[in-house]
Symmetry: D2
């Protein structure tokens, strides 16, 4: 039976992301506690893939996931998933807002609902919980009168009543998740693809970052994410987490990666995969596959034989 890991317990936003994966329907699901543990299940073969939050997450920061990917061996992103992040206030049946004096919640979720709480439950006491799900699940057996949980908690704990929905201070937050595995088969090109890389710079001089970015710009490759992370071995050395528009099989992307590989001491390819938002890349004529093919044909004719490349 196929097995997938995710940041648990059941009912988390990460599981919602996993629900978007067709192969994970009816598959075995392993809830884990950290990004590292999620990747470990994949490295060990226990799970074929793991869903992890990679950006804007309340369940683990982008940095820890990025650092984990940078150090885990052979990880590949297979697909990308967006989940709208919001919270509900749930209670045992019969409880009203006026009854609520204590609220169980994961500390981060509690902080993200601070405005709603200040307005509607200014005197409520916060009881910290290990996860958004356990807060709700344990409602009956704890001193908490209410819990801040995920919208789909009622699928997991059917006995709950929802007192309020959309109580997060920011109503439009989305978290980006990625499904990672050790499968190195490339997903097919769709025209709306993304490629993730981790690139180290040779040193910290002003020009080396520019040298790196010119590899993209001279081939018309847009970046949708760039983030510096200290490498940690000594001061002033950085690796860059980069998401770019396009698939490694797109000529312009392949050319940029060849350039990167030459100027960087280390390039990790994390995968090419369809964009969750389906937005197609807009590519100027001179960066189209045809433009690359034409140039190669032209050069080949000049050197009068298949070039030694």
């Amino acid at each position: 039976m196929r097995t997938f890991a995710y940041l648990g317990p059941s009912g988390t936003f990460t599981e919602t992301a996993l629900d978007q994966v067709p192969e994970a329907q009816g598959a075995n699901r392993i809830p884990v506690a950290t990004v590292h543990e999620a990747l470990d299940t994949v490295v060990s073969g226990e799970a074929e893939a793991a869903m992890i939050a990679i950006e804007n997450s309340i369940e683990g920061g982008v940095t820890s996931a990025q650092d984990a990917l940078a150090t885990a061996p052979g990880m590949r992103i297979r697909s990308e998933h967006l989940v709208s992040v919001n919270f509900s206030l749930v209670v045992s049946p019969g409880t009203t807002l006026a009854d609520v004096e204590t609220v169980a919640a994961h500390p981060v979720a509690y902080a993200q609902c601070a405005k709603w709480m200040a307005e509607h439950l200014p005197k409520a006491v916060h009881l910290p919980a290990a996860s958004n799900v356990s807060a709700a699940r344990d409602l009956g057996s704890s001193v908490a009168h209410a819990a801040i949980s995920t919208p789909r908690i009622t699928e997991v704990v059917e006995s709950l009543e929802v007192l309020a929905t959309g109580i997060a201070d920011s109503s439009e937050a989305q978290t980006r998740f990625v499904l990672v595995s050790r499968d190195t088969t490339l997903p097919a090109q769709t025209g709306a693809d993304k490629t993730s890389l981790i690139v180290e710079l040779p040193n910290d001089r002003a020009g080396s970052l520019l040298d790196m970015l010119e590899q993209f710009a001279t081939r018309g490759v847009n970046l949708s994410l760039i983030q510096s992370r200290p490498i940690g071995d000594r001061l002033g050395r950085y690796r860059f987490v980069i998401d770019l528009e396009g698939h490694i099989r797109d000529e312009r992307v392949a050319a940029a990666m060849l350039g990167l590989k030459r100027v960087s001491p280390r390039v990790m390819f994390l995968g090419s995969y369809p964009r969750a938002d389906g937005q197609r890349a807009v590519v100027a004529d001179r960066f189209s596959d045809e433009s690359f093919t034409d140039a190669r044909d032209w050069l080949r004719e000049i050197v009068s034989e298949a070039p030694a490349r």
Copy 2:
């Protein structure tokens, strides 16, 4: 009396960072729950400054702090502080490791000590706590046998015993904190300064990021942090959180900022301040203040009068 806000409660790493601020010695200290709340106390004037974690923090992610700074009005970073982040396992006097069946801990701290826990307390049950400090403070009055807390917790809760120190999986983590206020007086140049900016790009074409970075590179300005953040108003628009080496009164930095201002629809200056690590910028001759002054003198002579600049 002077007042400073920090992410509380007393005993957190953030308070350790605040201890590094001379003006905060003996001052009034307001513990707050979130980065937004910290900035609010400054905006309202309740506190003259707030200490917030800005990078690598277990007490709140870099992204939320960066986004908060990008939207709070008129914030200025006054100083930067590094705190070594580590954890201790603390107990009530007399408790031994063999006695420990339950461990109170903030969920994030618990995750960061996962390896040590798996090795030394594989059967212990995690009891989530609202903070690293409250986990320890409540030891006597809860069902927890031990707590994961900060090294300096024994200063706050004197009755505790330390069973183990340095139990975090990564022993060398540092968190970077910044002290923010609304004071727009510029700290003096020290030669080892940092300048923080938030810059929006006009659009997402491949060249606009490069245009931005050329403003730095053509003036020999090194970046120590660059991070893209979606602006959020519509897809494909980004702001960049940037730390650069140097002070806005350094000629090369001022010139780069003038260039940035011209090519970017919005540049937020978050402050120039001494680097916590004291590392002095290495500046090539052609980017020295003298080089800029000489060039201006040369140009002024050509235009035969004080140029209209």
Copy 3:
């Protein structure tokens, strides 16, 4: 009386260019033999200005003029002039095409009329002349039956008859001339200006030329001429002759020149002057004078006082 030098003798295209200069009307005119001699008359004060061909000339190549400007002290270009270059075949009155067996012509002019000669006078013998003008002037006293000369030769030598006009192989050639002097007063901005520079590069690495050009590109300054010239002191060192769109009093041009001055070991300013073709520069908003002024105001406010610049 005002005095101007030009590549003579009277009747040359260079004198036609000088005719375009209002101050030269009725002034004393000194015909000289070479570009160096022309500049010498200016350096010595004998002439207040000299007209020299700077591009596409049949009367002296662009390179010699550029090299001369690069080494003459304190030369400034005051204005630019375009002259349509063409040739006529002239004879003593009564001579017909059938009579012409010998043709006097400056060797370069003869070469430029090669096609017309091959078609109409295939058997004619070339008698070299020192200039296009002397060829015609000496017609009566030499063995030449006809002369290749400038269209306005009949103003100088009234006794001549024109057998054919427009006999040059290329009918649309224009030569660009510049009037140079030691007057360092800057001509006023017109909105359709040009600035001429000679810039040395620090060495011949691939990046240094790019560094130089980025000084222009990051300020939106277009180049209308760029030409590498070996400096001559040792292999691999180059100076660049550059014409750019705009006046040194334009903010974007001044900023680019400040940048150039910092990255180049030697920048020679040869002048800002109105373009002969009157074509106005198209400047993107972000490179307008206002954009520069706004940026400076913004920076000045940040540093809370008139910046030390």
Copy 4:
């Protein structure tokens, strides 16, 4: 019999350059009058190759040769030749310096010896000649007492005496010549090669020249010559004459040319050939052939099959 064209007559510096070509020893040599005529003999097949001056020449400017190459079909540079350019003053036997009242000389050569003439023969009258060779050859049959000619004129006209050598104002001038043919076989790589191109830019915006040069800089390709030439079809459009270090079979050069081909509406390849000065290119590791090969191997492994390139 093999046939080569050169700018004649016999005895010119161009013939000296042709002497450097092994295949031209004992071959048929056609002296021609202009660069265009030289190329015509190659296009028509009359000559297999033509020697033309391409830079710093007294016998025809760089611009005309460059423009000719840009418009002649299918021209390829096969080799490059340097000739030290200097002049001698020659006379009929028995003539002394004191006797010389008239000097025959090509006007350009006369100008280049202006200082020597002013010092040693201040009163001499210049008699223009069609070439440096004919000036000397016709000494006996003209009114000239002396001639300015090439050092090797005495091989051609044995009856002459040399009164002075090295009389040019600049004693170290070299002229660069190239041998052009329609043979498209590439000369072998030597490690000290040069590649000549003519590249058109899409328009005159500030960035397009930079885009072009980044194609070279991102691959570590040095330029030894860059020269803008107006295309002539309308204002503001330029072509660039470029000499770069390296052979089209060098990976970095091939990559730069592929990039150029994509961003430029027209790239003319004029040839890869050994440098006359034998100076080997210094190539950073990251631009070595190995670096390119390694990068391709790395990419190929990622895409799990021979990439479609």
